[in-house]
């Protein structure tokens, strides 16, 4: 009798806790769904082929697009990755392999500080260093500012992922006459690659949507430009400019820009994952 009461109580507690967990999960996902839903509602109707192929047009002229901002964001993210990915992966591998060296502790600390810096501060820094001396805004300066922001994310996820690689695998390679650096490159990194790529994608997704660091680095550009030394447009900049304008037409374009930005991040993620997935199946050699 007593035992069954206890069992009942346990069962009930289990049910309640389970329900609470579901609720918490739903609460976490709900804002995301709302944002997606609202974006699609407002922006999807303005996303069409013109949006990708055409340049911005004056208010009142139909068929304008954001071709310049799309290419701009792609270029900025490309430059940022060229800077942030190798440095971040290198630093992360260093932290994982030499974790308790005094230098490692400072690197880890600095990475965390950099991660916590407001993005506008990074923008000012890049302006001071890359824009002011040159005398004009440039895509390169914007890309570098974004690249700096990628470094800590890539560093810390790489470190975490590399630490999950079993010591036994490292020792196996060392025992075959592999030097430490070669072991790191040929065994440790490939084994951790899936997680490292995920870290890179998170970093890319994060900086692709940044506006503040671009305000005084790449500035924005109403015209078509693919030059690294000239100001360049970016989707978030364009969205910002349109959103604060007074015209409904431009507001619609801003919503469309937001939809495209999210779609872009999604496509990059899925694409990279597919590539990594295939690499693993082949045994990454």
């Amino acid at each position: 009798m007593k035992a069954t009461r206890l069992q009942l109580r346990r069962k009930l507690t289990g049910r309640i806790m389970g329900a609470l967990a579901y609720l918490a999960a739903a609460a976490a996902v709900l804002p995301l769904l709302l944002v997606f839903g609202y974006l699609l509602l407002k922006g999807a109707s303005s996303v069409n082929l013109d949006f990708f192929l055409h340049m911005p047009r004056p208010v009142g002229v139909p068929g304008g697009g954001m071709a310049n901002a799309i290419i701009g964001t792609l270029m900025l993210v490309g430059v940022a990755s060229l800077l942030g990915v190798p440095i971040g992966i290198g630093a992360g591998m260093y932290l994982a392999e030499h974790g308790n060296a005094p230098l490692a502790t400072s690197v880890r600390f600095l990475a965390d500080v950099l991660n916590g810096l407001p993005s506008i501060v990074i923008g000012i820094f890049a302006w001071q260093l890359l824009v002011r001396p040159v005398g004009h805004f440039s895509a390169a300066a914007g890309g570098i500012a974004l690249g700096l922001m990628m470094i800590p994310t890539v560093t810390r996820t790489t470190e975490e992922m590399v630490l999950t690689v079993p010591t036994a695998l490292r020792e196996a390679a060392l025992a075959l006459g592999y030097a430490r650096w070669r072991t790191a490159l040929r065994i440790v990194l490939p084994t951790a690659l899936g997680g490292v790529i995920t870290g890179v994608l998170i970093a890319v997704a994060r900086v692709a949507g940044e506006t503040a660091p671009l305000l005084f680095t790449s500035l924005g550009n109403q015209f078509w430009s693919v030059s690294l030394t000239q100001p360049i447009s970016a989707i978030p900049l364009q969205v910002f400019n349109y959103a604060i304008s007074a015209y409904d037409e431009l507001h619609a374009q801003a919503w469309a820009g937001a939809v495209v930005l999210i779609a872009l991040v999604l496509v990059i993620s899925l694409g990279a994952r597919a590539v990594v997935g295939r690499g693993f199946a082949r045994g990454n050699d």
Binding site: A175, L176, G283
Partner: protein
């Protein structure tokens, strides 16, 4: 097992060939302040099988790993004394640990294949060690040596991670053999395996000493008796007794050795 025993019986008493493969001189190893190995001096003759036995924690793995500088990357491990290999102290100032490890291979307690194909696992060492011939030939030779060729030849492109424990361990042995080491260190290579795989590996060890020197750590005294020419008994970091296997198991000179082999402790 019986044909292995027969083979052994037929083999003429092995007069010491005179050459020593590796020799330690008053070798001590510390982990932090703890002295895990105390002034061990031991000579491993070339082309023989030497077994290290002793209770858990007595320093068998520590001694084995100090023979190819595997403890270099253990942060607070410190080595005193000398380990002579090919006439030089491998802990000497100008010695390249990478080259030492290429010549002194290692097989670990738990099979640790890379998440790659069987072929790529075995070819992994030769690929960077300047091997110029056909890789496929090396892979075949190494897998044959490790008694794994017939079983695995049709699935060389499959991932080694999907194999059974015994197959994985033999792939790991083949991987170690593919770089043609002069000495093979084995740390309880059969401890996670079933009797059949264990027997295969024991036979393999027996065959290996035609071409190289084998040092094997084992918890299993029958195994030590079956495969080794000499046995070293370690206890609490000390080398208590070292001699011909048959002698050591039948007429141990040290009371501690006798107590251990008769199962009174450990």
């Amino acid at each position: 097992m019986s044909d292995l025993a027969q083979e052994r019986a037929l083999e003429p008493a092995r007069a010491a060939t005179g050459t020593t493969a590796i020799e330690t001189e008053r070798l001590s190893v510390f982990y932090g302040a703890k002295e895990a190995l105390k002034q061990v001096s031991i000579a491993i003759p070339a082309r023989e099988v030497v077994a290290f036995i002793g209770p858990s924690g007595c320093g068998k793995s520590t001694l084995l790993r100090s023979l190819n500088r595997m403890n270099d990357r253990v942060p607070d491990a410190r080595v005193q004394g000398r380990v002579l290999f090919d006439g030089q102290d491998i802990y000497g100032p100008d010695v390249d640990a990478v080259e030492i490890r290429r010549r002194i291979g290692m097989v670990f307690q738990r099979a640790n294949p890379f998440p790659k194909s069987i072929f790529d696992n075995v070819a992994f060492g030769p690929r960077i060690n300047g091997y110029t011939g056909k890789l496929a030939d090396v892979v075949e030779r190494a897998l044959r040596q490790a008694a794994a060729w017939d079983e695995l030849k049709d699935r060389l492109r499959q991932s080694a991670v999907g194999l059974s424990g015994g197959q994985q361990q033999r792939v790991c042995i083949a991987r170690a053999l593919a770089v043609e080491p002069e000495v093979l260190l084995m740390d309880e290579p059969a401890s996670a395996l079933d009797p059949i795989s264990t027997q295969q590996i024991e036979e393999l060890i027996y065959a290996l000493k035609q071409t190289l020197t084998v040092v094997i750590v084992t918890h299993n005294m029958q195994q030590a008796a079956r495969v080794s020419d000499r046995t070293a008994f370690l206890y609490m970091g000390e080398l208590v007794e070292y001699g011909a296997t048959q002698e050591l198991f039948t007429r141990p000179t040290e009371p501690r050795t006798e107590a251990y082999i008769t199962g009174r402790f450990g």
